[in-house]
Structure formats: structure tokens, C-alpha cells
Symmetry: C2
Subunit: 339 residues, 2 copies
DNA sequence: ATGAAAGCGCTAACAC
DNA sequence: GTGTTAGCGCTTTCAT
């Protein structure tokens, strides 16, 4: 095991002080008016011996870890894993690293995780807040640590957030479903007060009201066993003779498709929130309300980095439009008849 | 912003020394024979003021960060995001946190990332090594940092690894395809020398040889644009009039399905490596060689944690069996005729 | 049984 | 321009 070279080793080897080396290493050579010759000599030597600063010591001293804490609902959900991928790349480009965790709707675990991230002195937080996290997030703010909420926000806590325009997305999807000669259009969602779920519900309602049609709303328990979800979705669709259904999350739609397939029941017209590889390739392919992950994450990182740098005077509350991607599942024409 | 309470604040408030507090906090009260009364007094006070040690300072001092570096090929691939989910949970249970990155087949980025993780003093590495990482991984070993390779390994570098029995998996899948009256059975894989790809190829070959049939092997460029992959897969299947095909990764199979669907070409019998939500719900559902993610990750973390604790005398090279999950896509009977 | 103090590796205020 | 040194918050040796 080769010994790590320290800044003091460099100073000693070159017969100069650690300060000079430190200044040069931190791009303060010009500012401190260190001679170009010295600067070059140090830089060359540093490269030669492959010196790498100990980030821990640096962080302890500066109070900056260059690490961001990312808390997502479930990393195994393709929506969130894609988000993670983009965030990681954008953070990397901005010189940050990510520590992440899935919360899996476990409020207690979420709290612990956030505390641990704070103990680790993360420079900032990116959180998809589950319910009951008001206090914890308020606590982060009190400790003056930058936070950006994502995918949903907490109305009672004033923070930055970046979310999609869920209401408009749900409205347009529902309207699209209604325009295709469907009367009995239902919504399958969750017992949840999270803003994105509320907004999707509102969007659905607005469209139903506009068409003056009765609404059919089925809510499922968050984190319930999938079999329960499947049973209830099936019952809802069959009993109500649904013409069309909007699913408020991709995994609810997946459960629905599983249930329908298992019982060989023909699909109602349908649409779902959030893209999924399955939806493009399913037969029929599934219409979705797609969130613009690239733009969402870009705004997210920008907002967070600006806050960390102290460059943000005010809270940024950003809403990004969704895109309705119409596929076979929502249109009346049979798949075979499409051009 | 409330000021963080330090260990010295506690000592001062209680009129004792930091040493005593530190001993008590690190469960060395008994060992150092500190009185129970004192211990209780300190613990109570600590709880009351909500003292949380600064992990950075602790790490700087002890050299232990309790952070593991996880480098996966692509976090957006459901196989890897599931792996990440399990690893994170297991690591958490063992008192570790994860910093992760996707390498996206970018060797240069991978090297940088590994270096940055080393600068961050991670306690250990979990890596799905892409090609050309021999030196970097050897370098980690030289620095005496525990590493476990995963999903594939590097034959020329002696490390722990945990992989699936890819050869047997491919062999069984191919044999299954052959037993269903298919003669022209092809393999769609990648130009890659990674062990998992080589093993899958070998398994396919072994089955073909056993049946004394000509093999059809199509390799695609790693990281090529999806359109190219789609075109080439289509051409391979059509030109060779394939009866059946084994895809060596889930995303190759997804590309294949897309291509076939777009051109309305009937599916050959098929099977793919690695589970995917799509495969269960596709019509027909897709037969897969499924890796046992739970067991893989469990062995992984056990091995890594044991090494970090200095409890591992020798290198562990673990191979976990795959499971062939037979679905509609690989059997001759038409979906409609299944019970 | 408890405390003083060194030191982990780095940055930066201050000195010259 | 460059060097000396305190100090980030903690653990742990050594002294008492």
C-alpha cells in the first residue's frame, strides 16, 4: 500500500510552505500574487506525484462537502431511476456528488435518513417528500441547509420546489379520453394528500365537470400488497363498466394491466401518468402523461446549486408542463386499423 | 439557525472532560470503567440537547467513513436500479451508506469517479466493471481498499466477486428453446469481453453443440444508438429466418421487441436475460433468465463488510444460480391455447 | 475513573 | 510573495 502524499510532503520536498502549495492548489495563485515560476513548479510536482487532497479534511475545514443528498420514493420505479440518472449527471457536471436513498414510503426511515445526511454535512437536499415530513423538512430549513422539493411539495413549508403541471396533465389526458366517445371515464389513484396526487385528481375532475359527466374515482392504499391493488382495480373497472380509465401513477397502471391480463379481460381505453418502457411496447401501446425529466432535473440542480452558492435571493417554485403522448390504448380505432 | 452542539459544549456544560464524553458516546464506558452515574448523566444530557457527532471530523480521525461507493453500468436499467435498491437496504442495515454513480460505459468517467470516491475515503467499493478498468481496480487493491466486483469480474485482477451462473443460465435457456422444436436458434449479444457476456455466449454454444446445430450469433456494438440496434436485430432475425432467439441482455430484447413491433413482424420464439416489468406483461409474455438479485446483493454486502472489518482471510468468488422463468414467448403452443 | 493534549489533513487569517 | 500557525470536531494515548 503506497503512502498517500500530503500537502506537507509537497511543501517539504519543494522547500516551501504549505500555504503556498494550498493557495496554488486552490487557484489562488494569481490572487495571492505567487510567481508563475513557483506555481508551475508546484503544479508539475503535484502532477508528478499524483497528489490528491483528502476531501474529508478539506470538508471539515471548509464546511463544504460537495455532496448532495437525494431522497426518492423508490429507486426501482423507472421514473425515479431515470430522475436519479439525470440528477447524478447534472450534479456531477456542477462538481457535486450524490448520496441517495429510497424511502419506500417509510416516514420513520425517511427521518433517520435525513438526519444521517445532515450528520454527514451534505451541502444540500433533493427530496420527494412523503406525507408527515413537514417537521423534518422545516428542520432542515432551520439549519440553513438548502433543500429543493421535487415531484411534489409541502404547501405548509416554504421551500424551493420543482414539479410538473400535474393538474393540466391530468386534465388533458381526461379530456382526450372523453373526446374519444367515452362516457364512463374513471380515475385510479391513491389515498394520498401529496400535491401531485391532489393535482391529478383536480385535473381529472375539471375535465369531467366540463363534460358534465359523473366521475368515478377509485383510491388505493399506498404501499398495499400488489395483489390487493390488482383485485381492487379489476373490481372497479368491471363493476363500473368503465369505458376508459386514467391511472395516476405508472405502477398502478402496471398493476391494472397485470390484473386485466390475468383475467383475460379486454382493456378499457386508458392512459397513465409517467413513461415506462412497458407502455411503448405493450399491445396496445399505452397513452401516457409524460413528465419532462430532463428539464425538471436541470431546474432542480440549478436551483439547488444557486442556493448553496448563496446566489438565490428568493424561493423558486417551478412548474414544468407535462406532455400527453397519445398511443393506441386511448383511441377508439382498433390497433389493426391504424395506418 | 440553531448552532450545532459540540462534544466540548457537553463537557463544559457538565463540568467534565471531552475524553469522558467521547468514551461514553463510543460505548467504551464499561471498558474505561466510567461510573454508571456519570454515564447516565452524560447520555441523558446528550439526548436532551440532541447532540449529533460531526461525522466528517469523526471520519477524519478514525479513517472510517461508513460510506460505500457503488458504481453500476446504468442506474436506469431496471436490473441495476433493483440491485441498487437492495444494496442500499442491506448496506443501511449494516450501518453503511451508499454513494453511487452510473458509468454509462464511459471508461474515462469511471476512472474519475473511482478516484473521487477514493478521495472521499469510501470504506469500500462495489463495482460492475466495464472493460479497460483492470488498472484502476488493481490500483484500488493496492491502496488496500476493499472491493467486490459484481455482475461480471476481471479475470486478470484477483478480487472478491459475486456473479450469476451465466453460462448455465444461457445453456438452459438455449436448451429450452431447442427442445421446443426450434432448429434455427440464434443469440443476440454484444461485442464485449466482459465475463458475463462471454459466459452467456459459452452457455449458448454448449447447448447448440449438444444438439449439433449451427449457431447464429449476432453481436452489437456496446452503447450504439438504439436505432442501429433495432435495424441490426431485425435484419438478423429476418434474413436468417430465426425460429428462436436468446437475447443476452434485457435492453437488447427491448430493442428487438420494438423493432419487431414497428415492422409488424411476428415474434420468433424468444428468451432474454434479466427480468423486466415489460416481460411479464408483454403479449406474449417473455421467457427470461432471471438473476437472484436478493441473494446476489446479500452475498455482496456480506463479503464487503467482512473485508472492511478485516474478517476476511481469503478472496470470495461467488456464483449464484440463475432461474429460467418460462413464459409464453418461448413455447410453441399459441398463447390462446394455453390453459 | 477521569483529564490534558496530540493529531487526523487541510485552509486561511495574520505575520513578515 | 511566502511562511507560521490556529483551528475545523473528533478520538485516543498517556498521565494522574
Amino acid at each position: 500500500m503506497k503512502k498517500r502524499v500530503l500537502i506537507s510532503d509537497i511543501a517539504k520536498a519543494l522547500g516551501i510552505s504549505v500555504t503556498t502549495v494550498s493557495f496554488i492548489l486552490n487557484d489562488k495563485a494569481k490572487e495571492k500574487r505567487i510567481s508563475d515560476a513557483m506555481t508551475k513548479r508546484v503544479l508539475d510536482y503535484v502532477k508528478k506525484v499524483g497528489y490528491k487532497p483528502n476531501q474529508l479534511a478539506k470538508s471539515l475545514r471548509t464546511g463544504q462537502t460537495k455532496i448532495l443528498g437525494l431522497l426518492v420514493e423508490d429507486i426501482a420505479n423507472p421514473f425515479f431511476s431515470n430522475v436519479a440518472k439525470y440528477i447524478e449527471r447534472q450534479a456531477y457536471d456542477a462538481g457535486y456528488h450524490i448520496i441517495y436513498c429510497s424511502m419506500n414510503n417509510d416516514g420513520q426511515k425517511a427521518k433517520e435518513l435525513i438526519q444521517m445526511f445532515m450528520d454527514r454535512q451534505v451541502d444540500g437536499f433533493i427530496i420527494t417528500p412523503s406525507e408527515g415530513l413537514e417537521d423534518t423538512i422545516a428542520n432542515i430549513r432551520q439549519n440553513n441547509i438548502p433543500v429543493v422539493l421535487f415531484d411534489r411539495y409541502i404547501p405548509t413549508v416554504d421551500t424551493h420546489y420543482v414539479v410538473s403541471d400535474n393538474k393540466k396533465g391530468a386534465y388533458e389526458a381526461t379530456k382526450h379520453l372523453l373526446e374519444n366517445e367515452n362516457k364512463r371515464v374513471g380515475l385510479i389513484s391513491l389515498y394520498s394528500n401529496q400535491t401531485q396526487m391532489r393535482d391529478r385528481l383536480e385535473g381529472y375532475m375539471q375535465a369531467m365537470d366540463e363534460f358534465q359527466l359523473q366521475s368515478y374515482i377509485k383510491k388505493l392504499q399506498l404501499g398495499a400488497p400488489e395483489q390487493d391493488a390488482k383485485d381492487q382495480i379489476l373490481e372497479f373497472i368491471v363493476d363500473n363498466k368503465m369505458d376508459a380509465v386514467l391511472f395516476s401513477t405508472n405502477y398502478l397502471a402496471v398493476s391494472g394491466l397485470k390484473a386485466l391480463k390475468e383475467h383475460r379481460i379486454p382493456l378499457p381505453r386508458m392512459a397513465a401518468f409517467d413513461e415506462h418502457t412497458l407502455f411503448k411496447l405493450h399491445d396496445p401501446s399505452i397513452t401516457v402523461v409524460s413528465q419532462n425529466i430532463e428539464q425538471l432535473t436541470k431546474e432542480l440542480i440549478q436551483t439547488l446549486v444557486a442556493d448553496i452558492a448563496g446566489r438565490s435571493k428568493e424561493l423558486r417554485k417551478i412548474t414544468i408542463p407535462c406532455e400527453l403522448i397519445i398511443r393506441e390504448s386511448s383511441i377508439v380505432t382498433l390497433p389493426e386499423q391504424i395506418s
